[in-house]
Amino acid sequence: MDQFLASVEKRAYQMAKFATGCPDQALEIVQETMYKLVEKYSDRDREEWGPLFHTILQSRIKDWHRRNSIKKKLGLFWSGNSDGNNAMEDRVDPSAFDPARMLEGEQVIERLETAIGSLPLRQQQAFLLRYWEEYDVSQTAMIMGCSEGSVKTHCSRALAVLREKVRDCI
C-alpha cells in the first residue's frame, strides 16, 4: 500500500490543486483520500486500488467544489481565503496565453497548469483521468460516476480548449 500511495500521491496532489487552486486544500483532499483508501480498501486486490483511489479523490474534489459554490453563493468568502478558493476561471492570467511569448521549461508547465485549471471541473477530471492516468473510457466513467458518452464529450471539449490554449508551447 505504501508503494502504491507513493506512486500516485504527486499526481493526485496536482489533480486536486488544478481543481482547488490551493496547495493546502489539495493536500487535505489527498490526505483524506489516502486515509479512506487505507481504512476501507487496503484488503482489496492491488489492481483495484487505482480506480478506488481516484474514485475517492474525485468524490472529495466534487465535495470541495460543492461546498465552495454554496459558500460563494452565500457570499461567505472572506478575503484571507479568497486566493485559494477562487474559481479557476478567475485565476487565469490572460497574459499567459500570449502566443508571441516563448515559453520553456517551468513556464510551459505553469501555462499548462493554468489552462487545465481553467477547465470546468468535469472536463478537467475526465481529461486527467483519461489522458494522464490513462484509464479507458469505461473506467473513467465508473470513477466519475457518469456515462461513457459524457466522458467522451468532456474529453473532447477539454482537448479542444487545451489545443487552443497551449498548442503553441507544447
Binding site: 496532489y13 496536482q14 493536500l27 481504512e39 482537448l159 507544447i170
Partner: protein
C-alpha cells in the same frame, strides 16, 4: 498530419509536461505528502495492532458474565424455596391449631413417657 495524429502527439506532450510538473513539486509539498501517507498507513496499523486480543477476550468476558448472572439467579431461586415452604407452613391453619394445643401435647408426652 491529420487531426487524430495531431491529437495523439499533442496528448503525449501534455502527459509528459504533466509528469514533469508532478515530479518537480517542491520539497515542502513532497514532505507533506510523505507525512500524509505515513499518517494514513499508521492509522491502519494502530487499528490492527491495537490489542487485537481484546475482541475474543471481550466476548469471553461477556459470556462469563452471562453465565454468572444466570447461576446467581438460579441460586437465589433455590435459596428462596425453603423460605417459601416456611411461609406455607406458617400460613397453614393446621399448624396454628397445633401451636395453640402445645400444652396438651406436652401433658400427653409426660403421661406416655
Amino acid at each position: 498530419m491529420d487531426m487524430a495524429q495531431f491529437d495523439e502527439k499533442f496528448i503525449k506532450s501534455l502527459k509528459a509536461a504533466l509528469d514533469e510538473s508532478a515530479e518537480s513539486l517542491d520539497a515542502e509539498i513532497r514532505l507533506r505528502l510523505t507525512s500524509a501517507r505515513s499518517a494514513a498507513l499508521e492509522q491502519k496499523k494502530k487499528h490492527r495492532t491495537g490489542f487485537p486480543w481484546l475482541v475474543p477476550a471481550g466476548a469471553f468476558a461477556s459470556l462469563v458474565t452471562v453465565i454468572f448472572v444466570i447461576l446467581l439467579w438460579s441460586k437465589n431461586d433455590m435459596d428462596q424455596m425453603p423460605v417459601m415452604e416456611d411461609l406455607e407452613l406458617l400460613s397453614s391453619e393446621e399448624s396454628l391449631e397445633m401451636l395453640e394445643d402445645l400444652e396438651f401435647y406436652e401433658w400427653l408426652e409426660s403421661q406416655t413417657g
